[in-house]
C-alpha cells in the first residue's frame, strides 16, 4: 500500500509572517467573528444548559464503578486482584477471603475504590476476567462532602445498579 504523502508547508518564515503584527491581526479577526456572532445571537453558543439539560451518556461512557452480581444475586467478583494490579492510580484496595457458598473459592472481604484517586481510565474493567467490575452506572457526577464520602466500599459498589439495559451493553 502506497503511503499517502501530504506536503505541509512550513509556516512562519516569510517576512510578513515574521512581522507578527499581521498574523496577530488575522488571529484577532478570527476571534472577533466568533465573538460578534455569539454576541448577536447567543443561541449560537455550543453550550448545554447543565444541570437542567443532562448530557446523553452512552453505554460506553466510563462512569462510576459498580460490582456486578450473578443472576442468582451472588457476588461475581472473585478477588483476583487483576483490577487492582492494573489500576494505574492504585486506588483499588481489595482484601480477599475464602468463599464458602460454593459459587467460587475466593471472594472479596473488602473492596475499596478511592474515587478521589481514580482517573476513570477503565483499565480495571478491561482487566476483570469475571466481568465483575463495570463502569456502566451512568453516574458521571461524583460528588461528596468529605474524603470519606468519595471512598466506595464493597456494599456501595454492589448496591449500585447498572445504568443501561443489557442489550445496550451488547452493542458495544
Amino acid at each position: 500500500m502506497a503511503a499517502r504523502v501530504k506536503q505541509i508547508k512550513r509556516r512562519g518564515r516569510t517576512f510578513l509572517e515574521q512581522l507578527y503584527l499581521i498574523e496577530v491581526i488575522k488571529g484577532m479577526g478570527v476571534t472577533i467573528t466568533h465573538f460578534l456572532r455569539n454576541l448577536r445571537d447567543n443561541r449560537n453558543l455550543y453550550v448545554r444548559d447543565y444541570p437542567e439539560v443532562k448530557p446523553e451518556i452512552t453505554s460506553r461512557w466510563r462512569g462510576r464503578h459498580r460490582l456486578t452480581l450473578h443472576p442468582d444475586g451472588t457476588v461475581k467478583c472473585v478477588a483476583c486482584f487483576m483490577c487492582q494490579t492494573n489500576c494505574p492510580s492504585e486506588c483499588i484496595m481489595i482484601e480477599a477471603t475464602e468463599r464458602l457458598d460454593g459459587v467460587a473459592e475466593k471472594m472479596p472481604a473488602r473492596f475499596t475504590i478511592d474515587l478521589l484517586e481514580c482517573i476513570y481510565c477503565g483499565y480495571c474493567v478491561e482487566a476483570c476476567p469475571m466481568d465483575a467490575i463495570r463502569m456502566d452506572t451512568g453516574i458521571f457526577s461524583v460528588t461528596g462532602t468529605s474524603r470519606e464520602d468519595m471512598v466506595l466500599e464493597l456494599e456501595d459498589l454492589l448496591a449500585t445498579p447498572g445504568g443501561f439495559a443489557e442489550h445496550e451493553q451488547e452493542d458495544r
Partner: protein
C-alpha cells in the same frame, strides 16, 4: 475655597478612585463573558439575586464576597510578613495612583476659574505615570521574593526582567510622541489632538505616530503583565508565579491591581493616541458653541440606540433557559429599566434645552459628554486587551526578551530619529 471648587474637587477625586474600582468589575465581566463568546461558550451567567442576573455581572459580586470571607492564609514558612502583606497593597495602590493624572474631560471653565478634569491637577502628566507604574512592579517582585517559594521567586524575577526590557521601548516611544506634542501635560496633549490634520483627519496620536503607537501598545501589554506577556504568572509553568502563596483579599488586591493597571494603561493609550475625551471633528470649542443642536441630536440618537439595545436584550436574554417564564420576566424588567433611563435623560436634556441653555450649563453638558466618550474609548481599549488575551498564546521567555531588545528598542530609536527630523523640518 468656594463651594463649587470643593464640589468639583470631590467629583474629580471621586472619579479618579471609583471609576477604576468599578471598572474592575466591568472588566472582569467583560473578560469572562468575552472569553466565553470568543470560545463559543457562555461564560458566567447563572449567578442571580431573585432571578436577576445582570448579564452575569452578579458573578463578580459573588466572587468578591467569597474572596472577602475566605480565610486569609499566611503560610508558616514566610519569614518577612511585612513585605508579604505590603506587596499586594503596593500593586493595588500604584495602579490606582497612575490614573490620577488622566484627564477625563477638557478643562472646565466656570467664570474666571479653570478646573482641570483629572483627579490630581498635576502638570507632570505622563512623567507621573511613568514614575508610578514602574513602581508597581516592585509589588510583584516583593511578592515573589517574600513568598519564599520557588515559583513565586521565578514569577517575581520574570516580572522584573520584563519590566526593565519594556520600559525602555515604552519610554522611547513616548519621547518621539512628546516631541510631536511638545508637552508632558496630558490635558494639553489631548487638546492638541482636537485639531485636524489637513482639515479632515483628526490629529490623533495614532495618526501622527503609528510606529510609536504600536511600540507603546506592545510595551503597555508587557507592563501590565497581560497575555501574551503574562510570564510572571505563567500558570502552566510556574503555577501562578508571584501570587502563588496569596489567598483571600490579598489575592484579590493583586487581581484588582492587575485590572486597574489595565484600565489605566487603556486610558493612557486613549489619551495619548486616540484623542482622549475628544469627539472627532467636534472639539471643545465647537461643542460649547453648538451645545443646543448637540443636545437635540443626543435626544434623537438615544432612543434609537435604546431601541436596538432593548431588542437585543429581548432576543438574547431569555436564551435556552431552564425556567423560561422567569427569564422572560427578567427580560421585561431590563427593557423597562432601559427605557426609563432613556426617558430620564430625555427629560433632563429637554429641561436643559428649554431652560438652561447657554453659559455654564453648556460647559457642564460638554464635560458629561466628553467623560462618556472617554469612558467609551477606554473600555474599548480594555476590550482589545481581552480580545488579545483570548487570541494569542503566551510568549516564551527568550522570545519575550528578543522582542523587547532586538525589535522594539531599535524601532523606537528609529522612530525618534524620523520624528526628530520631521519635527525639525516642519519647525
Amino acid at each position: 475655597m468656594s463651594g463649587t471648587e470643593i464640589f468639583i474637587t470631590i467629583i474629580r477625586v471621586g472619579f479618579g478612585v471609583f471609576v477604576p474600582l468599578s471598572a474592575v468589575a466591568v472588566m472582569v465581566w467583560m473578560e469572562r463573558r468575552g472569553a466565553g463568546f470568543i470560545q463559543d461558550r457562555a461564560g458566567p451567567n447563572r449567578c442571580n439575586v431573585l432571578g436577576f442576573r445582570f448579564g452575569g455581572l452578579l458573578q463578580n459580586i459573588a466572587d468578591a464576597i467569597k474572596l472577602l470571607f475566605k480565610e486569609d492564609v499566611i503560610p508558616g514558612h514566610i519569614a518577612h510578613k511585612f513585605y508579604f502583606i505590603l506587596a499586594p497593597a503596593l500593586v493595588f495602590i500604584t495602579a490606582l495612583l497612575c490614573f490620577a493624572v488622566i484627564p477625563f474631560a477638557d478643562a472646565l471653565v466656570l467664570g474666571a476659574s479653570t478646573y482641570l478634569m483629572q483627579a490630581m491637577p498635576l502638570e507632570l502628566g505622563i512623567l507621573w505615570f511613568l514614575a508610578i507604574i514602574g513602581f508597581g512592579v516592585y509589588g510583584i517582585i516583593l511578592a515573589g521574593w517574600a513568598s519564599h517559594n520557588k515559583y513565586g521567586l521565578l514569577g517575581g524575577l520574570r516580572a522584573a526582567a520584563q519590566v526593565i526590557s519594556y520600559e525602555i521601548p515604552m519610554g522611547l516611544a513616548l519621547v518621539s510622541l512628546l516631541a510631536v506634542y511638545g508637552t508632558v501635560n496630558l490635558t494639553e496633549v489631548t487638546q492638541f489632538q482636537g485639531r485636524l490634520l489637513f482639515g479632515v483627519i483628526p490629529m490623533w496620536g495614532v495618526v501622527l505616530q503609528p510606529l510609536g503607537f504600536i511600540i507603546f501598545v506592545i510595551a503597555a501589554f508587557a507592563e501590565t503583565n497581560r497575555t501574551p506577556f503574562d510570564l510572571a504568572e505563567g500558570e502552566s509553568e510556574i503555577v501562578a508565579g508571584f501570587h502563588v502563596e496569596y489567598s483571600s483579599m490579598k489575592f484579590a488586591l493583586f487581581f484588582m491591581g492587575e485590572y486597574i493597571a489595565m484600565f489605566v494603561s487603556s486610558a493612557l493609550i486613549v489619551t495619548l493616541f486616540f484623542g482622549g475625551y475628544q469627539i472627532p471633528w467636534l472639539n471643545t470649542q465647537t461643542l460649547v458653541a453648538h451645545a443646543r443642536p448637540v443636545a437635540v441630536a443626543l435626544m434623537l440618537i438615544l432612543p434609537a440606540a435604546a431601541y436596538v439595545f432593548a431588542r437585543w436584550i429581548g432576543f438574547n436574554n431569555p436564551g435556552p433557559a431552564p425556567n423560561p417564564a422567569q427569564r422572560v420576566r427578567e427580560t421585561k424588567v431590563y427593557i423597562a429599566v432601559v427605557w426609563s433611563l432613556v426617558a430620564l435623560i430625555e427629560v433632563i436634556l429637554l429641561g436643559y434645552i428649554v431652560a438652561g441653555a447657554g453659559g455654564a450649563a453648556d460647559r457642564i453638558l460638554v464635560v458629561w459628554l466628553q467623560t462618556a466618550v472617554f469612558l467609551l474609548k477606554t473600555f474599548f481599549v480594555c476590550f482589545v486587551y481581552v480580545w488579545v488575551r483570548w487570541t494569542l498564546p503566551r510568549f516564551r521567555y527568550d522570545q519575550l526578551q528578543k522582542l523587547g531588545w532586538e525589535k522594539l528598542l531599535p524601532l523606537a530609536l528609529f522612530n525618534i530619529f524620523i520624528t526628530g527630523a520631521v519635527v525639525v523640518a516642519l519647525g
